[in-house]
Symmetry: C2
Subunit: 252 residues, 2 copies
C-alpha cells in the first residue's frame, strides 16, 4: 500500500529500560492504533538508549522521511532524562527555559519546584507546549517532532491532545479472516489476490492453538468497498480448497 | 555504562502487523532479557515494514555497529515474507535454495511440499541454518546477522539454539529499589550517585498507584559488589530524606 501522497509518522522510543528488557513497551502499539484512525500510518519505530548521539541520530533520520516524528520517554527531572537537550541538538537550536512551561510547573509544584523539576521547563527555542493533564510537566513540539512522556498513561493523554492538530487522511481500515488453512497451501492463490488488489496490503499470519494450525489474513486499506471485495476473494479462495480449509472467523 | 569492549546486539523487527498496531511485539523484550544473561546488551531496535528497501537499510546500519544483528519475522511461505531476499540484497549475495534446508522441509512436509513452502529453503549463499524445533522451516545466519521467525514461540526456540554459539561477556545484573519518593525531590542526590559510579547505569522510573507516587531506581552493571555499593548509596539517599521518602522494595 503506497502512502506517498499522505502523511506518515515515525516513533523514537527512548529508554534503557526497554532495551534491557525490564519494561515491555506498549506505546508503539497505542500510537500505531490511534494514528491509524486518523489516516497516518506509522512507518518506522526505533528504540534507542538514553544517549544523546543515539537520540539525535534517530530523530534526524526519521524527521526527514516522516511527516511527523514522535518520541516517548526521557522528559523527567532526573539525570537520565536527556530527550529535550538531544532534540535541541538534533535541530541545532539552543535549549532554553520556556516561560509558559515554568509557569505551569510553578502552579503545580509551588514551593516544591526544585531546580531538578525546573529542568522539565527546558526545551529547544521555539518549541510549542503539549499539554499534560496527568502530571503537569508538558511535552513539546518543535518542527515536525512531537516529544511525549514515556509513562503510558501520560503519553496517551498527551497524544490525545495533539491528534486534532495533525493532518491525517482517510482512516486506515482493516478486515481479517481467520481460517483453518496452512500458509503454505494458500500462498500461491493469496499472492494472486494481492496482485489483483495493489491498493490493499494483505498480510498472512500463521498460528497454532490446541493442535489446530491456521492462518489469519489481514487486508488493510482506506477504501471500505475495495476491502470487502478483497475479503470476498479471500473467502472464495478458502472455500475453493474444499475440506482442506475452513473459515473460522471474519472481523476487523 | 560503556560496552565498547564487549559484544553488542541490534534487532530488526520486520512486520506490518506490528506497525499497524494489530500485534503487540514481545520478541524485543525476550531477546533483551536472554541476551542480557550472557552479557550481550541490546543497543538498538528498529521496527520496519515488509518492504525490501526498509529491511536492507536497517540491517546495513545495525550490522556495522553491533556485534550481532537479529531479525524477526518475514520468513514464511507467503508473498509478504521477503526477509531472506532482503538480507541477501543487504549483503550483495545471491539468494539460493539451500540443500539442507530443502531436505528438512521435504522430511517435514512430504508430498505437501508446495513451491511456496520451498521458498522457505531460499537464503543468501553461504548462510548456515538455525534449527527450528517447532515448525521445521529453519532460520539462518549470514555474517553477523541472525534471521529468526516472528511467531514468539518459534523465535524463542531458534534463539535458544543460537545462544550457546555467541560470544558474550559477564552477565548484565540489575538491582532495583522502589521508594515512596518523588523523582524531582531526589534528582540532585541521584545525579551525584550516578557521577560517583560511572561503571553502573542508574535509571529512574516514576510511578503512581492508588494515590501513592513513587520512583523505582534501577542500577545495571556487571560487577555484583559494585551494584551492592550503589544500592547502599541509593538507600542512604532515601533514608536521608526523613519522612519524605520510604524504601518500599528491594530486588533484582
Amino acid at each position: 500500500m503506497s502512502d506517498s501522497e499522505g502523511s506518515t509518522a515515525g516513533l523514537v522510543i527512548i529508554g534503557n529500560e526497554i532495551l534491557s528488557g525490564r519494561t515491555q513497551d506498549t506505546n508503539a502499539r497505542t500510537l500505531a492504533q490511534r494514528l491509524g484512525t486518523i489516516g497516518i500510518p506509522l512507518r518506522e519505530v526505533r528504540i534507542v538508549p538514553d544517549e544523546d548521539w543515539a537520540i539525535v541520530e534517530a530523530v534526524e533520520a526519521l524527521r526527514l522521511r516522516c511527516t511527523y516524528v514522535f518520541t516517548t520517554g526521557g522528559i523527567g527531572p532526573t539525570h537520565d532524562d536527556i530527550t529535550a537537550a538531544s532534540i535541541a541538538a538534533a535541530f541545532g537550536l539552543p535549549l532554553e527555559r520556556d516561560a509558559e512551561a515554568e509557569r505551569i510547573l510553578r502552579a503545580h509544584y509551588g514551593t516544591d519546584l526544585t531546580e531538578a523539576r525546573l529542568k522539565m521547563a527546558e526545551m529547544p527555542r521555539g518549541a510549542t507546549l503539549i499539554e499534560n493533564p496527568v502530571s503537569a510537566a508538558p511535552g513539546f513540539r518543535i518542527g515536525n517532532v512531537l516529544v511525549l512522556a514515556g509513562v503510558p498513561k501520560i503519553m496517551q493523554a498527551m497524544l490525545e491532545s495533539v491528534l486534532p492538530g495533525l493532518s491525517g487522511g482517510p482512516p486506515l481500515l482493516s478486515r481479517a479472516i481467520s481460517a483453518a488453512a496452512r500458509e503454505g497451501d494458500i500462498a500461491a492463490a493469496l499472492s494472486a489476490i494481492q496482485d489483483r488488489w495493489p491498493a490493499v496490503e494483505i498480510g498472512s499470519y500463521p498460528w497454532a492453538r490446541g493442535g489446530l494450525v491456521g492462518t489469519t489474513l489481514v487486508a488493510r486499506g482506506t477504501d471500505r468497498a475495495v476491502l470487502e471485495a478483497v475479503v470476498t476473494d479471500l473467502c472464495a479462495m478458502i472455500d475453493g480448497m474444499g475440506l482442506d480449509a475452513t473459515i473460522l472467523e471474519r472481523g476487523a
